[in-house]
């Protein structure tokens, strides 16, 4: 296995509050790596640091061997990261279909150059076909022409996932993909995520609360506690880890 993302000695604080301290984190090609930890452990902050949404105070982050510490989020996306947000972010005043078209055209702009952005008033046929495929694949048929702001919580998450897939990323980062879902929706989401992971050969990086989701998806687990990593390894190893048991079972 090759390492496609590597973070070394990351520090991140907001004002005086230290959120991450000396965190080392690796992502191997092809794994489904889930970061867990109690509320306020720094999961989302780690996510934001890795994706480039926020700058780190010190440390380095590399992506496929290249140092990306100084790169902004959009540049990291162009190097193969796709991500979702805890509360799904979509373009609320466009239809679900148009949301996908924007995502696909963005990817095309990278390949075909700036001038593909001008000069035609309808999306190209290839773009529309691809959007159509994504609609089918993620089960958005019923809502494809509704404005995205009015979609249900679960549909927004699915739409966001579809937009991330449209970028054809190597690494897909999902921040709490099942937050606020009912148990049956969760099971459905797990099925969907593992399905797209297999089909697109993605490396997954997730944060998650729900243990069924965690053990349904993870090939590796990392436990974050008070901004430090206390355990990392295969799920059954982590489950047996003494410190993890202490954190999760000993004191709440």
């Amino acid at each position: 296995m090759t390492r496609i993302m590597e973070a070394r000695a990351i520090h991140k604080s907001y004002g005086l509050v230290k959120v991450l301290e000396n965190v080392d984190f690796d992502l191997e090609d092809g794994e489904a790596h889930v970061v867990i930890g109690p509320n306020g452990a720094g999961k989302t902050t780690l996510f934001r640091c890795l994706s480039g949404e926020t700058r780190i105070n010190s440390g380095t982050i590399t992506l496929a061997g290249d140092d990306v510490t100084q790169l902004a989020g959009w540049e990291r996306v162009q190097r193969g990261i796709g991500r979702s947000f805890q509360v799904a972010r979509i373009f609320p005043m466009m239809s679900a279909f148009e949301n996908l078209i924007v995502a696909i055209e963005t990817r095309e702009r990278k390949d075909k150059g700036l001038w593909s952005s001008f000069g035609h008033i309808a999306p190209r046929h290839a773009v529309m076909d691809e959007a159509e495929r994504l609609v089918l694949e993620l089960g958005l048929e019923d809502t494809r022409d509704e404005s995205a702001g009015t979609l249900s919580h679960g549909d927004k998450k699915r739409l966001e996932l579809a937009m991330s897939l449209a970028l054809r990323p190597q690494i897909l980062m999902l921040d709490e993909p099942t937050a606020g879902m009912s148990p049956s929706d969760r099971a459905e989401a797990v099925r969907l995520v593992s399905q797209v992971r297999e089909r697109y050969g993605l490396t997954l990086l997730l944060t998650e609360h729900d243990m069924e989701v965690v053990f349904g998806l993870a090939t590796r687990l990392t436990v974050l506690h008070h901004g430090e990593i206390i355990a990392s390894g295969e799920p059954h190893e982590v489950r047996a880890d003494a410190r993890v048991r202490e954190v999760y079972l000993g004191q709440h």
Binding site: E53, Q78, F91, V102, H120, I121
Partner: protein, 342 residues
Amino acid sequence: MIDYRARFRTNLMIAGCGLAAFAVVPFVANSGLMFLAGLVAINIVFGLSWNLLFSGAGLLSFGHAMFFGGGAYAMAVVSLRMPEVPFVIGLALGAACGGLIALLFGIIALRRASGVYFAVLTLAFSELVHILITKTTFLGRNDGLVGIRRPVIDLGVFSIDLTSATSYYYFIIVVMALVAMMLWCFQNSPAGRLIQAIRQDMTRTAFLGVHVQVWQLTAFVLSGSIAAFCGAVMVPFTQIASPEIAYWTVSTQPILFTLLGGAGYFWGPAVGAILFGTIDFGTRTMQGLSEITVGILLLAVVLMIPGGLLGLLKRRRKKARRMAEGSSPAQHEQSGKTEAGQ
């Protein structure tokens, strides 16, 4: 499913009808009214260029006068001091002048300022440009540049004589219709869609791999160039470039047009500019009445009818359709209002 072609045809038809309506004006009205109509046609595109920024990119500019004035003065300087330069090149230089101002200002301002700060920064910058114009001898100081001649466009095989006010009027409305359609095409191109996306969720757009500031700057430069083009086209029509066209009250004109007509609609600024021109003309004998009318209308738009005039029409039409279908809502339509016609 959106039928993109049909949408294009509809809007082309709207532009065509508008053009036809303006083309009739010289036959039915005196030269004073024709002059006003020409200014309204320019204002329509000026408003569209502003709304490209406001509704398109979500940037509130209180300084569009610096572009408009910049284009106008560039045109005036070219035609007075460099008469050998062809008219069409002058227009292009005017637009480029606005684009350059927008580029310089945008590179600085878009990096740091947003929201209300951006608005005030544009206001301050535009006032700076205005004062510089009034103090620069080359630009005629407070008197402006006068005596700008209307051109004869030489196309080699034949030439188009635009020296009379009427022929230049036709030139204006044709060019403005073309530019308006060009703007429509831009808004519906992938780039326009992207700028819309940035307005709706900047973070999401960034995490699609888009350099957001570059695209905001693109919108800003485009908007500035079009506004400057409008200024450049106006100068041979009025035959004068005076500092007032760079004053901050000019910056607020496209805001008025857009909000009155409906910011959420592509043709909103067009409807607003026509409405504004009508109010201005109707109240010309009473000093101050036009400001009061427009001010109160604008307040009404912000406080009660956020969609502007077009939003009002659409709501009424929707209501009427629902009534016609029989599933009339419990609410009774407010009676006594007359249909708001154009």
